[in-house]
């Protein structure tokens, strides 16, 4: 079955085309085809997972066909499957499947329903490409395709100005990082002479890549990961990406695409492990992101944006875990986070579907109206906050333990972020589902979502509850996904249970505080907003990062304006037009010379010849006697000369 794994992305691509062309005639306008393929992919992933755990297939598995050659190098097209791939494969196919089922309810009646499913299939295909490819070149291509799908889906409701802008912002911001990725890829190719992941890993393990090259490549490629996985300072696009439909937020901007950056770092972990600087860059960027994003979520009133900031924060966690050497911890957090964050987004989508607003200040008291959504959202919240025994507890605890083993400062930042996470999730939960309805009209019209929407919620809720517990049994996940190379630094010994206890106490306390504040004493947060208005202002302005980037754009703008005026006023006016003027003058002189010297000489030749001819004509009188006279005279002259000689 490993032999056929390459069919997965190809089939998804084909289905995207199929839905685009024939979706109109397929059941559910093509949704059925997308769902079937995703389901098949998920079953394949699950089977691979089971076989890998049982050890009945040998990993890593690689298969490739030659693609094209350049210079002395051969580019290949193929698949590379190891534990990491399988973990990611399940995440992608599972979330994609559930989101596609959910979307049949959420997007019901949308005029571009067919197109939505086409995009989803295209996205799934690209993501599978990223996951399965054995070649960094194809990886980059699929990576960009994923970005395109993200752009298309964020701006799916492009009639809304803000959605169109958000799509553009996401695309441009991630492109900024992708530029770094591309350069990093070139550095990596320069250092290794190959794009194949297995060969790069081999060379890295053998220490054949210079640390400087590995560090440069690592940091540059991390720029790409920072764009795609929304790391500081490029995370500004993700909150705006919430303009897209909620299932899209769940699939792309919570579970899979944003994890692609983390996956990329994990994929090339052997390279990163060669350079302590690259590792530290990843770790500190992750930590800063985790902290910043968590603080931003505190003051946000848009339900989906709270979740978006939370996603950014959790992605920061994963990066931090990878950066401190916690390879398994980072990927484990990626896996569990994908499920419970997809759950939270889908539940939020269900709420938004019911009340038609994103603003938490207009919600409240929805738990009686939407019990299933409430319960599943609660499960997701508990998992995200790291309350035992939910999934997030296991993964977050491992991340924090890994951070402590490397650097206590990173651990402290991570713990603070965890506390904030618990607080803002409690706040979101209370504001949305508890208390009195703030908008009676919207509350009256709210109703529980249909079964196609609650079904995936329930499934994801179940996974969120058990996945952490199940995957840590017999160190199942660690057997599947681990890093066998050497780390560039020593790690301290850490007491895991102590860290786990500490983090769950922090989370529980912080969560209770949040629930108490927003449920019993909503006047205190309001007073805090007044008292700490400068800080709140800073958070609402998102640390002025947007302003910073806009300023950057402004600077670029004025620079190009200056360049334009230089070009227009100097280069065009003086250099180009001046040159043209000079040429014109010169040609005029040349024209005059041509007319009056060259042509005159030619004309003179003609004139002289003509007048000579005219003169010679005079001799030709036609009178024979004249001719004879000439002859007589000539003979006389010759005779005279002869006699004189």
């Amino acid at each position: 079955m490993l032999e056929y794994v390459y069919i997965l992305p190809l089939l998804s691509f084909a289905v995207a085309g199929l839905i685009l062309a024939f979706g109109r005639w397929l059941p559910l306008k093509g949704a059925s085809a997308g769902i079937l393929v995703a389901a098949w992919g998920f079953s394949q992933g699950l089977m691979l997972f089971v076989k890998a755990i049982q050890g009945t297939i040998t990993l890593p598995y690689e298969m490739s066909i030659p693609w094209f050659s350049f210079g002395g190098n051969q580019a290949t097209l193929g698949v590379y499957v190891d534990g990491l791939t399988i973990a990611m494969l399940i995440v992608v196919t599972a979330v994609s499947l559930l989101v596609q089922i959910y979307s049949t309810g959420y997007m019901h009646g949308d005029p571009r329903f067919k197109r939505f499913y086409c995009y989803l299939s295209l996205f799934t295909a690209s993501m599978l490409g990223v996951t399965l490819t054995n070649n960094m070149m194809v990886f980059f291509m699929c990576w960009e395709l994923v970005g395109v799908c993200s752009y298309l889906l964020i701006g799916f409701w492009f009639e809304k100005q803000s959605a169109a802008y958000a799509g553009k912002k996401a695309f441009i911001t991630t492109k900024l990082g992708d530029l770094g990725f591309l350069v990093g890829l070139m550095v990596l190719f320069y250092a290794t002479g190959t794009f194949e992941i297995s060969k790069i890993q081999e060379l890295a393990h053998a220490g054949m890549i210079p640390a400087a090259a590995a560090g440069a490549a690592g940091i540059l490629m991390f720029l790409g990961a920072a764009g795609k996985s929304a790391q500081f300072p490029l995370f500004i696009w993700l909150p705006d990406a919430m303009e897209g439909p909620s299932p899209v937020s769940a699939l792309i901007h919570a579970a899979t695409m944003v994890a692609a950056g983390v996956y990329m770092v994990a994929r090339l972990y052997a390279v990163y492990a060669l350079s302590p600087i690259a590792m530290d860059t990843v770790a500190w960027t992750g930590a800063i992101t985790a902290f910043m994003a968590a603080s931003l979520a505190l003051t946000c009133f848009d339900l989906k944006r709270v979740l978006a900031f939370s996603t950014v924060s959790q992605l920061g966690y994963m990066m931090m875990a990878l950066g401190v050497g916690g390879f398994t911890a980072g990927m484990f957090h990626l896996t569990t986070h994908a499920y419970f964050k997809a759950l939270l987004f889908l539940a939020a989508g269900s709420v938004i579907h019911a009340v038609h607003t994103n603003d938490m200040r207009e919600m409240g008291g929805l738990r009686h109206k939407m019990p299933i959504t409430y319960i599943t959202f609660l499960l997701g919240t508990l998992a995200l906050c790291g309350i035992p025994p939910f999934a997030g507890y296991f993964s977050k605890d491992e991340v924090l333990a890994a951070a402590l083993a490397r650097n206590p400062v990173l651990f402290a930042i991570g713990a603070m972020a965890a506390a904030m996470t618990a607080f803002y999730m409690a706040r979101a939960l209370v504001m949305t589902f508890h208390g009195k309805p703030k908008d009676a009209h919207k509350h009256d019209h709210a109703h529980e979502s249909p079964a196609v929407m609650t079904g995936p919620l329930i499934l994801l809720g179940a996974v969120s509850v058990v996945s952490g517990f199940v995957l840590t049994r017999h160190e199942m996940f660690e057997h599947l996904v681990n890093f066998e190379g050497a780390l560039p630094f020593e790690l301290h010994h850490v007491n895991h249970s102590a860290v786990a206890l500490f983090s769950s106490i922090v989370a529980a306390l912080s969560m209770s505080l949040g629930v108490w504040l927003y449920k019993a004493r909503p006047d205190i947060p309001a007073a805090c907003r007044e008292t700490f208005s400068p800080i709140v202002n800073m958070l609402e302005k998102r640390y002025w990062l947007d302003a910073f980037f806009l300023k950057l754009v402004d600077i670029g703008d004025s620079l190009s304006r200056f360049m334009f005026s230089f070009d227009f006023n100097f280069l065009d006016q003086i250099a180009i037009d001046g040159w043209a003027w000079l040429t014109l003058k010169l040609s005029k002189i040349q024209g005059w010379l041509d007319d009056h010297v060259v042509d005159a000489a030619l004309n003179a030749t003609g004139t002289i010849t003509m007048s000579a001819g005219r003169m010679a004509r005079l001799a030709q009188t036609g009178l024979v006697q004249n001719y004879l006279l000439f002859v007589a005279i000539a003979v006389s002259i010759f005779a005279a000369i002869a006699f004189a000689g």
Binding site: R617, Q620, T621, G622, L623, V624, Q625, L628, A632
Partner: protein, 101 residues
């Protein structure tokens, strides 16, 4: 009687002939002047033969040859004049100007 007299006569005849050729308007007159020039040449031949090579006949032979030739020339010349006259209806050479450049 010396050679000079003959040569003077011959020169006079030739000059009269040349003058006639160049100045006569009538084409018949021109033909007659040509006869004069040919006969001047004949006198030269005969005179030189008589005074310089008395025992020989080359000069006389040439004179007879030229007389024959003159007869033939007159025949051809008159025929040409007839043909031209038919076309141009004139015997005056100034009308024969179709060669004018």
């Amino acid at each position: 009687m010396t050679l000079s007299y003959y040569l003077a006569l011959s020169g006079l005849l030739f000059t009269i002939g040349l003058f006639g050729v160049l100045t006569r308007r009538n084409v018949i007159g021109i033909l007659m002047s040509i006869e004069l020039m040919l006969n001047a040449a004949n006198i030269n031949f005969v005179a030189f033969n008589r005074f310089l090579y008395p025992g020989q006949y080359a000069g006389q032979l040439n004179a007879i040859f030229i007389i024959t030739l003159a007869a033939a020339e007159v025949v051809v010349g008159l025929a040409l004049v007839m043909a031209i006259y038919k076309n141009i209806k004139s015997v005056y050479v100034e009308d024969y100007n179709i060669l004018k450049g």
